[in-house]
Subunit: 209 residues, 4 copies
DNA sequence: TATGAATGAGCATTCATTCAT
DNA sequence: GATGAATGAATGCTCATTCAT
């Protein structure tokens, strides 16, 4: 009762693994540069320097390549977020000192320096394609979890009760403002936006500011 | 002698105007339901009950149909925003009373009840297509302007100095949270999110609350 | 037993005649500029400043418009040829004096100053379309007739016996050399070509020169 | 990484080479029979017994197929001309003997027995399409070169000074008369035309005839 | 495993022509 | 006679995918 489906290679040999890596790299390049819809599987194969047949040996189709790229990308981003939010940044909170608000903004900006074009493309697909929508949602859940963890560690300094709702709102606000800067090009000086955002998050989260 | 360029119909006859309306309606239906890329010009014509030739008499192509739809949609939304932000909502501010934060959230939610699917699709294109990116940006600028106007009218009650930066941050935060509710389906109870958002905006904007 | 065919207007009213003239003029312009295949009936109507419906009231289709244009053009050219070949140019033949060879070349060049672009387009169609081939042939026959007449008038000075064959060869040679100058752009100085051509025709036709 | 540009197959496999040959053959057939404009890429594919996709794998488009056909055709014709003009035909010149005039006519006729229909179609395009115009011109230049070479080899017997101008006039005259015979169908007996043409060329070129 | 030629459904778009007003 | 919106068959071309080598 074996599946009729095309058999996708699970690379075991070194050569095969290299081919797979080349395809992934080409996919990142082209999806970032031209977008998903303008990137054809032939172009990917050519850009990767392999044959179209080989492409289909390694990935079911274009869509699945992007999903795999997304998976890898997301896990890298997730690790970066994990690292970032581990930082115990809240020694002396307040406008003058360090605070979560400012730190979140800083880390968000940093995260978007990593492949903003790919991020843009995946965000586009999250808005137009249910499967990518679902993937983005799962990714977001993991980020929210980390954010909740961060907030919990500073609970005593915070004024918010519903940490999960707060975490979500914070993540969304940061995400969108950073998009307006990194993806669409800040319409006013970046610093004014990031200061306002940092200020907003700080005031929202912190007791007696 | 006059120009030989392809001429798009500028409706003079009643029948022509009706056809144009049918195409616009069909475009809204299909772009909302299936997305831009899965909607073909043939499908639009069939859905509108007209011929493919007629479609091309009225619109240069699929893309220009969506642009026109967007224009119409945007101006409706803009009017709604204008009306909404005119409301002098700030009798007795504070967690218990009415306040801008809560009002902005409410109005944002209301706005997204109007054709959320189309809004989703256009947002997707704003992320993937430079022309739509530019259109969305212009639209956003007009919203920011209205928001700055609103803030200015309540300046004495507000703690923020940089009204434009504040306006932008507020608009982005509200937009994204509302998208997570109306477009992607709230992952937790809507009220928890909107309360947190309203609270955040309020704390950010208001003096010593 | 009237024909089912679309009834084409035979202009009686002044307005109608003007419309017809406008269409003919527009046809000449566009066929000359863009060629037959790139000229659409809509463009013709627009260029003429009339409606597409009116175009079809006056001409069966694009093809028949060109045929009519050709007819008018050909009769003008024919008149010009008639005038040209009437000239009794052979006072003192010889390389130094006037001679038929040189005159034919001169007149051929002059003829091709009249709408060379249209001539080019019609020649193209003569090569690719049987109906135009036939029309060109008829036109050619009339030119050959005139040429035979000219030769007959100078028979005593000529060495050729088969006047018709001579006429045809002369017409073809002149036509093609002039095309290479007027239509394709002379690859060497025009004078060298026309001198050679005139010389060739002269030597061919004249007795012991 | 290599270029992403659309790549036209450069045949490596035998099957590919066969397909290419089939397309070329089908192109010759259909362009000759129906002309360029009436031949669609679908018809070519069907006639060649291959898929439309395969057609586009091998040729950029219909136009480029004809260009390639022309290139092949032109080089064959050029070889034939080269062979023909090598003939040292001028033993005892004169109306009774062999002479260049008669030889040129003979060879021109022979050349046009090879695919006259294709020649007709390409001539049509030379009149209507700048790119084909340019191609025909280049081809003509090569023929003129060969003709100049021939004339040079018999210079002492010739009366003409400007060999290049003479060569061009000769080529044009022969070309057009032969077209009137082979392409349009001689309106009078072929022999009368060829005799007149041969006579004209002979009298033009030769000393004291 | 890798290759790349072959496939053909499907899409955007054009344009000659009709006909109701 | 004039108008121009409507029509839809037809065309050029793309691209995801298959499969024989």
């Amino acid at each position: 009762m074996s599946s009729d489906k095309r058999r996708i290679i699970v690379p075991k040999q070194k050569r095969s693994e290299e081919t797979r890596a080349k395809i992934l790299a080409a996919g990142v390049d082209l999806f970032s540069r031209d977008g998903f819809h303008s990137t054809t599987s032939k172009k990917i194969a050519r850009h990767a320097g392999i044959s179209i047949g080989s492409f289909y040996n390694h990935f079911e189709d274009k869509r699945n390549l992007l999903i795999e790229i997304h998976r890898i990308h997301a896990s890298k981003v997730h690790d970066m977020i994990g690292d970032a939010l581990k930082i115990e940044s809240l020694g002396s909170p307040g406008p003058g000192g360090s605070n979560i608000g400012r730190d979140i903004v800083e880390q968000s900006l940093k995260l978007h320096d990593f492949s903003p074009e790919l991020h843009r493309e995946i965000t586009a697909l999250a808005y137009s394609d249910p499967q990518f929508s679902e993937m983005s949602r799962r990714e977001e859940e993991r980020v929210v979890e980390l954010m909740v963890g961060l907030l919990e560690r500073h609970r005593d300094q915070l004024r918010v009760d519903d940490l999960e709702a707060a975490a979500r709102v914070v993540v969304h606000a940061a995400e969108e403002v950073v998009h307006s800067i990194k993806i669409f090009g800040a319409p006013i000086e970046e610093k004014r936006l990031t200061d306002a955002l940092g200020d907003m998050l700080f005031r929202f989260l912190y007791k007696d500011s």
